[in-house]
Amino acid sequence: MAAISSGGDNSIFQSKLVRYYGMFTLGFLALTVIILLLEVSVGLPQQLIAGIYMVLTFGLYAVIGVATRTKALDEYYVAGRSVPAVFNGMATGADWMSAASFISMAGTLWGIGYDGMAYIMGWTGGYVLLALLFAPYIRKFGQYTIPDFVGARFGSNSARVVAAVMAIIVSFTYVTAQVVGVGLVMQRVLGLDYGVGVILGLGGVLFCSFLGGMKAVTWTQVAQYVILIVAYLVPPIFMSIQLMGNPIPQIAYGQALSEINRLENEQNIAKKYIVPFNEPLSNAGAIAAINQANGFFGTKLGTPAPVAIPSATAPELGDWRNTPWDFLALTFCLMAGTAGLPHILIRFYTVPSIKESRRSVFWSLFFIFLLYVTAPSYAALSRLTILKNVVGLGLVKDKAANGREVTSVVGSDGKPLAWVTKMSSIGLMSINDANTDGKLQFSELTINNDLIVLSTPEIAGLPYTISALVAAGGLAAALSTADGLLVVIASSIAHDIYFKTVNPKAKPTTRMNLGKGMIVVAASLTALLALPQLALVAQMVAWAFSLAASTLFPIVLLGIFWKRANFQGAMAGMVGGLIATLWYLVNNYLNPANNIMGLSHLSSGIFGMIANFTLMIIVSLLTAPPPIAIQEMVDQLRNPVGEMSEGGEMIHQH
């Protein structure tokens, strides 16, 4: 691993990396095949299989973390700026693809069909904005953090601190959701206690980011990418062969869509999978979240009256189905949020050059694309399995292993389906025979979104090894994202707030130790927030995109492309954007009757963006242009050659 730290000759460095990670990929595939064969032939016990995967993957992350530990500041914050484009692409992919992408996304598509594609397009299309509008300039700027850029461009420490606080809020909600994801995987697939899972997972994250900062995180993420992509691709390939007789799920699922359409017509399912703009507005999520929080904290917060739009009793609230506005707004919020998320933006500080930064965004999206293009086929094949093989089966009461009696369905062998009984007994699905005909209708089935990816191997009757593989993949996705986020939180506090604002004379060792301390503090707070498993946390992740889109995205964009943008404009924009987003978000979340053009709270960032851009332009034009030094800095930023003057020197105290 010594080669990783030295700049050295680029091509030798690259070919070494290719060899290391190539061997690792082949080894990982071979291991899976061997365990699979052992399970099928000699019946390797499930606990042992799960144990092997856990020990090997966590062991690997620990080895990489120790081998790349560092005391140099630029390695700790930006991996020494020596990560080649392809590998930065893989690391960005793992950094980006979180528990939400891996565990929940396909399940969401499973449930809402076309409307879920806002996530597929939003979380990939944002990379076009990142590539064209941000990455090369961020690399040219060449500092450590995004608040660094904001502080230097607008010549103000207060702008820097506001940006740092935004980065911390966004990253913190996001990291909490990752840790919840880790706990869920450990609990559901590996049978550990949720709390133990959370602590173990955080230990793994800490080990890596604490010792080696961005450098260790980057090289661990490359390995985690390999694990998560293998784990995500294997189950749909099996399902595709089983159901469609075609090993390429991304192509075979076209036929699956036609079948779904036919079965939905046959079974009189009103809400069609492929028909766009079908989602009603509702505050059921808010009511559930408040009730849950009341139960956990013993508070007595009032819940709003249930509202659903369209409503049979209140037709004056309108019907926004069949209008594209919410879908388009949500897609745009997710795209702009993607481009404005601090843990993704800082990845473009870690490449050696501007050219590499451009290539690196391409590779990032390419590696992300492999998972995202598979997710819709995952969802469609799962939906087809349920419509074709489960709906219409007879219902029966069954006693689960944990003693609970649940409604299950009778399989072809006349016995209750084991997975239905098990999932129902732990509350992940439920069957309610509404028309009491003793048979399962699609509308009588409620399934937790997270179940689709994690339990598909079991539903499809695949060996347990595949389940363990998927669990390892889900953990890799959640851990890699959490790693990147902890580095952002630590650097926002230690670098942006402490070193750049409070104590500019701080020694490098003090800054490093403060950064490490912050990682531990952030991780502990995360654990406390993750343990209650609040529904609100998942909601907050969706909101994080609206927050990033309405605060950081506009000011970084105008900072690069509009020389006239000044400090006053940026502050007015950030604060105004935040207020507009929160205002719409809270109002609509509690009562969806408060809406503009049928937009849900998930798309509230669109109003924040409008407010931010408008305020920033008007206030900038009404106040003095930025100083000459800053205008020259923008010129340097746009010119890929030559050196930046020190951003930090130009700061005027506001």
Binding site: R81, L132, I274, F362
Partner: protein, 100 residues
């Protein structure tokens, strides 16, 4: 780079960005707007409106970024802005960081 050359470079950069963003808009938002119509066309089982949102636009995004990186890196060579220049900057940067 001289001032006029820098302006020329920036103008061409902006033109490329605008062209690519128009395509970006059409394949994502444009296709979504007419998705109910596109869904009437079915190829290989895929209703095209659904396919554009789930796969077509994604393929487009990857290609857009590829074209941008390729064109801009070529333009950098044309304007004699090669990677070596930037590497020098990087070496200087490292020296600076140590001084800090």
């Amino acid at each position: 780079m001289s001032k006029s050359k820098a302006e020329e470079y920036w103008r061409r950069n902006i033109r490329l960005i605008v062209i690519l963003l128009v395509i970006w808009f059409l394949i994502s938002y444009g296709a979504a707007l007419i998705a109910p119509v596109l869904n009437n066309i079915v190829i290989l089982g895929f209703p095209i409106g659904f396919w554009m949102a789930s796969q077509g636009s994604l393929i487009g995004f990857v290609l857009l970024i590829y074209v941008y990186a390729k064109q801009m890196n070529k333009m950098d060579d044309e304007f004699h802005v090669s990677d070596t220049d930037v590497k020098l900057t990087k070496a200087e940067e490292k020296v600076k960081i140590r001084k800090n």
